[in-house]
Symmetry: C2
Subunit: 430 residues, 2 copies
């Protein structure tokens, strides 16, 4: 019998509990697959007394997570605490300093400190694995970093936050408003009591920063991600999207352009029939576009105990079988700081919704401002009449520069016939 791989788990929440469960329920299978047992020897969590529905007998308990890194019976520390700094960061640093491999599901930590932690791990010949940090159970990191490694990646984009996708899907299928659907999602446990992290796009941005580093072999640069959330999406916009043949998604896009690397998270209109447009509900989807393989699409569950723990255990099996890959696809000391292309440099199409006073001449003013900024209109919709009152007007543009669009928008928003802040949604025709 080969030597077991010994795991210390820090954090026994949903994911930690799931990891314990997989390692127990599928123990025989995993041992057959990797030729050695993978066993949990020690755990750490905040309150020892809490009933977790998991049998912890026979496991060493540590109140202080960092102590896991000193336990001689721990080969791999699983960091499942979360948070970009504090306990989680200290634990990972201590573990690596003490020669322990690290498996984590912590996207905030990797997005903020990924490059430094990769250097720390690789300089000691250790693995820092994080499949669970991006798109839950979907093997996107392995798929991109190894499966598509023959390719120069041109773009990676996807739905990386299931909460937002659930909310947007519910809004479309029920016609209800954002606030209403969010409250429901909170009641059902699909959204946190403090939902900002999800609905303001921060969570997706963390994941995108990691994905971009893997895709392009560059340093993780979270600060370069342009982030917008979905609070401003109205059911009116969702109806118009339907009518125009689009779905609204909170999209994360990493794109290599001549001006540098674009990293942006914001609501998008995407064609109904595209893989992203067809991904409804809590699911995640990632599309990678490589110079030889073309587009590869991966879809699955981006959260939840089972899927996330599945990814954590996949990382453990890589370690158990001695499979090693540089953290972000190329050795950490060769990760370059690629120039960031700011959102102002985006070129693409736009959807614009205005609430205007229904009277002659208003559209002429809007059209003139667009023309002045060299923005070419593609389609224009005004349904229903209410003379003298507020009516929605929707238009889409041909491909144009974000900077020009924003300048036009500022002037359009200042017209006294435009009653609410204009709503702009970028269109991506994948």
């Amino acid at each position: 019998m080969a030597k077991p791989l010994k795991i210390g788990i820090a954090g026994l929440g949903t994911v930690g509990g799931g990891v314990l469960q997989i390692l127990r329920r599928n123990a025989d299978l995993l041992e057959t697959r990797c030729g050695r047992p993978v066993v949990v020897t020690a755990v750490s969590a905040r309150s020892r007394g809490k009933d977790r529905g998991a049998d912890l007998s026979g496991l060493r308990w540590y109140d202080d997570a960092a102590a896991l890194a000193h336990d001689p019976e721990v080969d791999v520390v699983c960091e499942l605490i979360g948070g970009s700094d504090g306990v989680a960061k200290a634990l990972v640093e201590t573990a690596l300093a003490n020669g322990r491999h690290v498996v984590t599901a912590n996207k905030a930590l990797l997005a903020r400190h990924g490059t430094a932690l990769a250097l720390a791990a690789e300089s000691r010949g250790l693995t820092l694995a994080y499949e669970a940090a991006v798109a839950g159970g979907i093997p996107v990191i392995k798929g991109l970093r190894e499966g598509l490694a023959a390719n120069r990646v041109r773009e990676v984009h996807g739905i990386l936050n299931g909460t937002c996708n659930y909310i947007l899907t519910e809004m479309r299928t029920t016609g209800r408003d954002f606030a209403d659907v969010l409250a429901d999602a909170q009641r059902l446990g699909y959204a946190e009591a403090d939902p900002g992290f999800d609905i303001d796009g921060v969570d997706a941005a963390h994941k995108l920063a990691i994905l971009t580093a893997v895709a392009f072999g560059c340093q993780v640069d979270f600060d370069a991600v342009h982030v917008e959330g979905i609070r401003h999406i109205s059911s009116l916009d969702i109806q118009y999207a339907d009518e125009l043949g689009y779905r609204i998604r909170l999209l994360a896009i990493g794109r290599r352009t001549e001006r540098g690397i674009e990293q942006r998270v914001h609501p998008c209109m995407v064609p109904v029939g595209s893989p992203i447009g067809a991904t409804d509900g809590v699911f995640n989807a990632v599309v990678a576009d490589g110079d030889f393989v073309d587009k590869v699409v991966l879809v699955g569950r981006g959260a939840g105990a089972g899927p996330t723990a599945s990814a954590v255990v996949a990382d453990l099996l890589d370690i158990a079988q001695g499979r090693r890959t540089p953290t972000f696809g190329v050795p950490a000391e060769r990760l370059v700081p690629l120039p960031a292309s700011p959102i102002d440099s985006r070129r693409g199409r736009y959807y614009l919704r205005l609430m205007v006073v229904d009277r002659p001449g208003v559209i002429a003013d809007v059209a003139a401002l667009l023309r002045d900024h060299n923005v070419s209109m593609e389609a224009f919709l005004q349904r229903g009449r209410a003379p003298g009152e507020a009516v929605p007007v929707v238009l889409t543009t041909h491909e144009t520069d974000e900077a020009a669009m924003q300048r036009a928008l500022a002037q359009i928003g200042a017209l006294d016939t435009v009653l609410e802040p204009p709503r702009l949604i970028r269109i991506e025709d994948f």
Copy 2:
């Protein structure tokens, strides 16, 4: 500079040419990723004089592919010749016997001799890699074998033959007949001059046999695959499928049941909105269902020089970086011969189309026969009337046994009011 990994390529057709191109065009990138150069040193193909649009200068040429296995400057033999026996098999066996790793795109070889070749490779500590053999550029083998390795897989299914999917998609979008669309596909190079391998389901069956072994950790058992092709699919069936909310796909299904492992390739009706139903044209799609991760969907290009070569080079990079996994996920000597569940044991729903004489009582006879075999009808469609002449009648059943369905079908087909052989298409409600 680390030692280069030296490649010998046997077969310089579409895929071989693509591999040469990737290794040249992305040489710097690949060297950065894996820390050593990956270089082609020798090649072998049938006719040396042929212009392949690739510069072969500086490469050793062998007329006899097996000679690659003896070249001291070859670490890995890429077998890109094809065919389940003959030259390809001899080359792979010789290469492994001579301590060379093997990368192949040969599904027929693996489907027929996979278990024995895996044993030969693993007993010598060598890699036998074959990502390109299943679903072209999509990293399904890696995804399943490593990405989802934490899971007990319940089922794997997918579209594994792009030619059939192209033909079925064209039939639907143009309303044209099978023969007509096939002729077009041959003209466009999407189908071979001898199309049987694709349209009779053999190619998909080869791939399924491999996928099943990886999914369930069992010996490769191609002979246990039930195979039907798409020659009998008519544009009438495609229209009815549309009407019922389905798409017709040539599906490959590997399923773990209480009675054993189901392996079957045949036309299916699948819901329009399912990932498989949404995969049109030449694309491949694979869905794996694991006990913790739930369903993961992978979609991309299943054929063509770029995508297939992308998968071959991914395998080369695994070897270059020393990443090793048992050939079929569990060590070859532990692959078990799982019992096969024959097609007769299938349980599911069915679509049935009959061409009947339009006169009273015909449907009553059909309904009585179904009842006699305990098959419960779900829906029934008869459009248009032509008293005394042949009209199509379509019905779908509730879940029933294949054996019962086939018995009923034999009797229904024997009715003198049923004018053509009944058309049965299985329904899978993923």
